[in-house]
Subunit: 337 residues, 2 copies
């Protein structure tokens, strides 16, 4: 075992979009746990779009980390030293460790995982926050009915791919949106969706009409992008528009010019009796046990497949992270340490 | 009994906003019921903002009436001749009669009312469609909790005044929006709301901050007007934005220029976990019996008060109707024949 800890610090806040220079690799000693603490070694670090908002100073839905400290993030780690009564050496946990190889914890936010039940990485993917978010939103707000048309944006991503497959399992006609032919082929051939829309492949509204000729019952939106307006227009009566993410826009930088009109949007919501629903992962804590039961079963049976995009080396985390916003990942993005 | 029927016909569709010239008073013979029909005499005609959309040709959520036929509308009538097995002479009904003094019906859409249980006009007001709409929306989508702040636009109107009082009964802190000091005084002094905002009385956003310092949990919006954006910004986490009406805008004419931005709106919905919910009266048919029980009790006990703005004479219906959109009515607008 090395005696050097490696961390990726947030060393400056972005002036506009995040850049590599906002991060720095910092080496230092591996810390020593005090009474009541454990020492964690990170194996996999999850990179997800929501982390972008943490780089800025403004108040979003969670606090920003200080500068010159590890960037916030969730990882799979195992306990290599324990002075905590509830955790033993070699326990595996999901941990809010930040971007670093070794970290201390007093137990706050640690969730023990059983490495024999499922591959470790699933705890950051289908069996973790992305899967739980998709599951919670569709379970609580989706009102899924067999035969409904479910449209999912960023459908090959961590959240989107679970949402899409849950829809397929429930008997819905699922259409996924992704960037590029390979991803679209994956959606129809591997995940078994009814159709895919390539957002880089020509007129979106036309592709939407072709793939959803009767309109959209549920839109599971992970991007909040320029496509939103076309989808709103294609929503059927009693449609559910689930607002899950904003990959396409950086809230901290404001929004592009637009001719949208809240009054017109409200009139559409009224006449079509739409539900526009926002939510965060943390809202679905009460569904945890139900989620684990259902999702473990689906993963085991192969009904839910997952794809990982694994980058090796903590030092490559910043570049991989920035690639999330151009869609350069294909599957749930993980860094292996 | 006169032998002349009087009707208000829709004689032309509006080029822009509706004008008096779109209507004409037409006299003709009183029709004779065939087997299976009843002859109705109209006593009160309800005028409501939703009727504006019926004047245009486009498809909204209900069909437009033909030209040179009575304008569509709901009334309280009594049966003066019956060749229908289910209805007797002197029965009182709510009827989709249109704007006319006498009309035939084969029973479709007639709802019998008991004139001894409550004043007749309540069947077009608190115990009718406006009350039922407010009740259905708050019951199904409001998630009202004691102490929540409920904001209601057009709060002295037929729907708004019921929504506001239901909130007060449920222990919410209710703030009503209305145009002018008299209406605002009515909201606080007669209906017992916590505060009122005069939309003609200065900076709206500032009045909103003063009357809802902690933000808005539920917005019951009957107008979809220029105030919507300020309210969206003032919504609290998990807020419910109930999209009930669009008095402030004429959907058939498009919408005023706006710098709103759907992407930004979606981001707000996500971060605040808002629900934007559209609905129509017809969605709440299953709540009819529960609505009648609760609302009759509230009206009887005085917990729900109502105000009528009664215009005499069918010939005055067009002008009174157009006044709805400038807020010249104060209370539920009815025409007495």
């Amino acid at each position: 075992m090395t005696s050097i800890n490696r961390q990726i610090h947030l060393v400056s806040r972005p002036e506009k979009e995040p850049v590599l220079e906002n991060f720095a690799l910092v080496e230092g000693p591996i810390p020593t746990p005090s009474e009541g603490e454990v020492l964690l070694r990170t194996h996999y670090l999850s990179l997800a779009p929501y982390m972008r908002a943490r780089m800025y100073d403004g108040a979003n839905y969670a606090a920003s980390p200080p500068l010159n400290a590890p960037m916030v993030g969730t990882s799979i780690a195992h306990i290599i030293e324990s002075r905590h009564p509830s955790f033993a050496v070699d326990d595996y946990v999901v941990a809010p460790s930040g971007w670093q190889a070794y970290s201390l914890s007093d137990g706050t936010g640690l969730q023990r995982i059983n490495p024999d039940l499922a591959p470790l990485t699933t705890a950051l993917n289908v069996l973790g926050l992305p899967g739980h978010t998709a599951y919670g939103a569709l379970t609580r707000f989706g009102r899924m009915k067999s035969g409904d048309t479910l449209l999912v944006s960023a459908a090959t991503g961590g959240v989107g791919s679970v949402a899409a497959q849950m829809g397929r399992i429930a008997g819905l006609r699922v259409v996924g949106i992704a960037g590029g032919k390979d991803k679209c082929r994956y959606l129809t051939e591997d995940l078994g969706l009814a159709a895919a829309i390539d957002r880089r492949g020509g007129d979106f509204a036309e592709q939407l009409r072709e793939t959803c000729p009767d309109g959209v019952d549920i839109y599971f939106d992970n991007v909040a992008g320029a496509l939103a307006r076309s989808v709103l227009d294609a929503m059927k009566n009693y449609g559910r528009y689930l607002v899950c993410g904003t990959i396409a826009v950086n809230r901290d930088l404001g929004f592009p010019e637009s001719k949208d009109n809240l009054q017109e949007i409200l009139a559409k919501i009224l006449v079509k009796r739409l539900t526009l629903q926002g939510f965060l992962f943390s809202d679905f804590a009460d569904l945890t046990s139900q989620f684990h039961t259902d999702m473990s079963g689906w993963v085991k049976s192969g009904a839910v497949k997952y794809r990982e995009h694994i980058i090796d080396g903590l030092e490559n985390a910043p570049e991989a992270f920035l690639g999330l916003f151009s869609g350069s990942n294909f599957g749930k993005l993980l860094v292996r340490l």
